[in-house]
């Protein structure tokens, strides 16, 4: 670890544990480990715990909780992490139908890099990405670790409507649009999975700390999975990272 984590006040309802101002698997691994530790402790008055790239915000009810108790639980958690904290190994497999109407920017991304569309798909699906955090819009996942050889700048003119499930590239980042929204990412494909459904608990398919791998599918399988999703019978495939499904 590069820095000693610091605990900062954030008003009367929050403590922020800051692990360092950078994006790295080591730092995020510490964030996730402390989150699990505190969640397992079930401390009275803690309302919610929110992980980001580099920090953990611990929200509490100032009337029902004891600030010193929460602070000492955080210290206990930090000392128990030591060097042993490591990032998770669970990997969610997201089926994606690349190109065509689902990924209108696949040809231009391929052209930008002087490679074939198939090669873009192979590189995008060939390397696991890590979900650092969710934010921006409900369920939007900040994924890091995409093969940088297909990093592509955002569109000059953002689209007004991007359908939910669209998979895009923006610079070195890749991501999945959880809801229909405007946006400027280069769209290369679409997943039939519902990434965000507020009527479900949890409302999002992904969670911070999960690995994500994209699995190329064809239109027939897309339709098949979409039908299962609609029936509510589709189960997200979660494997150990590196395992071949």
């Amino acid at each position: 670890m590069n820095e000693t984590p610091k605990v900062h006040p954030a008003g009367e309802t929050c403590l922020v544990v800051d692990f360092g101002n950078s994006i790295s698997l080591e730092i995020n691994g510490q964030v996730q480990a402390l989150r699990s530790f505190l969640e397992s402790k079930n401390i009275q008055g803690i309302m919610e715990i929110m992980p980001t790239y580099r920090s953990l915000a611990v929200y509490f009810d100032p009337v029902r909780s004891d600030l010193d108790r929460i602070k000492s639980a955080i210290s206990e958690g930090l000392s128990s992490l030591g060097e042993s904290a490591s990032i998770g190994t669970k990997e969610a497999v997201i089926p994606v139908c690349y190109g065509g109407d689902h990924g209108p920017d696949l040809p231009s991304v391929a052209k930008h890099h002087g490679i074939t569309e198939n090669e873009v798909v192979a590189r995008h699906s060939g390397k696991s990405c890590y979900c650092y955090m969710l934010g921006f819009t409900p369920g939007f996942s900040y994924l890091g670790g995409m093969d940088e050889s297909i990093a592509t700048p955002r569109l000059e003119t953002p689209r007004e409507l991007i359908p939910a499930g669209s998979v895009g590239i923006a610079g070195k980042q890749t991501g999945i649009y959880p809801i229909d929204s405007p946006g400027g990412w280069q769209l290369i494909g679409r997943t039939p999975l519902t990434m965000y459904d507020p009527s479900k608990d949890p409302a999002t398919l992904l969670d911070a700390g999960l690995w994500v791998r994209f699995r190329p599918i064809d239109q027939d399988e897309y339709d098949e999975i979409q039908a299962k999703v609609k029936q509510g019978s589709y189960v997200l495939e979660i494997v150990e990272k590196g395992e071949i499904s």
Binding site: H8, P9, A10, G11, E12, T13, C14, V16, D18, N21, S22, I23, M47, E48, I49, M50, P51, T52, Y53, R54, S55, A57, Y59, P62, V63, L67, M133, L134, G135, F136, T137, P138, G139, F140, Y142, Y196, P198, S199, D201, P202, A203, T204, D207, A208
Partner: protein, 353 residues
Amino acid sequence: MRLEVKSPGMLTTVQDLGRWGHQAIGMPVAGAMDPMALKRGNLMVKNPQNAAALEITVMGPSLTVHGSGLIALTGADLGMAINGVPSEPWRTYSVQDEDTVSFSGMKGQGCRGYLCVSGGIDVPSLMGSRSTYIRGKIGGYMGRALTKGDILTCGEPYILWDRCAGFSCPDDLRPNYAPSLPLNAVLGPQDDCFTEEGIQTFLSGEYTVSPAADRMGYRMDGPKIDHLDGADIVSDGICLGAVQVPGHGQPIVMMADRQTTGGYTKIAVITGKSVARLAQRLPGESVRFQSMSQDQAVQEARSEAQEIERLRLAVEGWIASPREIVQDEATPDSGRLALSVEGQRYDVTWERL
């Protein structure tokens, strides 16, 4: 009881205390901008503190009542009238079928009123809350502000609801919205990203609420706050009342509809009571920030909770107290009262002279 919207007002939304517990998936909390007013109004109509009410901004709606129940306006005095007769804020009224509730505009301090109704506004609960999050088009009444023709259904009222009518919130239990009060700010989480002078500027300068002030955040104009080494950080959580300072050096206080995460340095976080008071300020009004420790801020929250408890007991006392036996009209010329003075009960008949 149901409320029919004849005209919606400037920005009228259904809000409770917010959609807590889902910030980790990027879901903003939303909820009442002035929770102090919402909690009190709910107690005054014998609802749980967290029941949904109408948050009314500056210009209120015009509503027709179907059925009967209680209403109370808390927060800002927006000139409420029942059947055209001016009514007081912070007082519980009984309304009947076909009554109209309208608002003539701001009187005195504040710009947000909370119309609390017996039983609460019964829109579907989504992820544990009935609050409207307009940008996300979710919660509240179809995920949006009210429009003409909407019909709001109220929940099941307290069984003795009509005994709450006439209750008035004691003056000392009403929030103090005086513009001269500073906003209490706990320094951090990124106060170490600012120069000493920058922090002094923030705590001593006079800031003006800019026209860019909405449910998401209040941008302030005033003396520029200096950073040590840039304003951008790797995205971090944003809590209610966080004071973000982007590169331009002007503070932005993050309010109910704030995004869950952001990449600007936060010099301080203002307390919950200060957020509620700020929510009542209008563009052009000035504010000052004053430093407070986190422990003091916790104490402030606890004394607020005690005030809420005192109000709850006052309402209980009102419900239990003897009162008029006959009340046929809204303003009767005569009536009978049962009074209890030092243990002795009296029947009093009275007549308007």
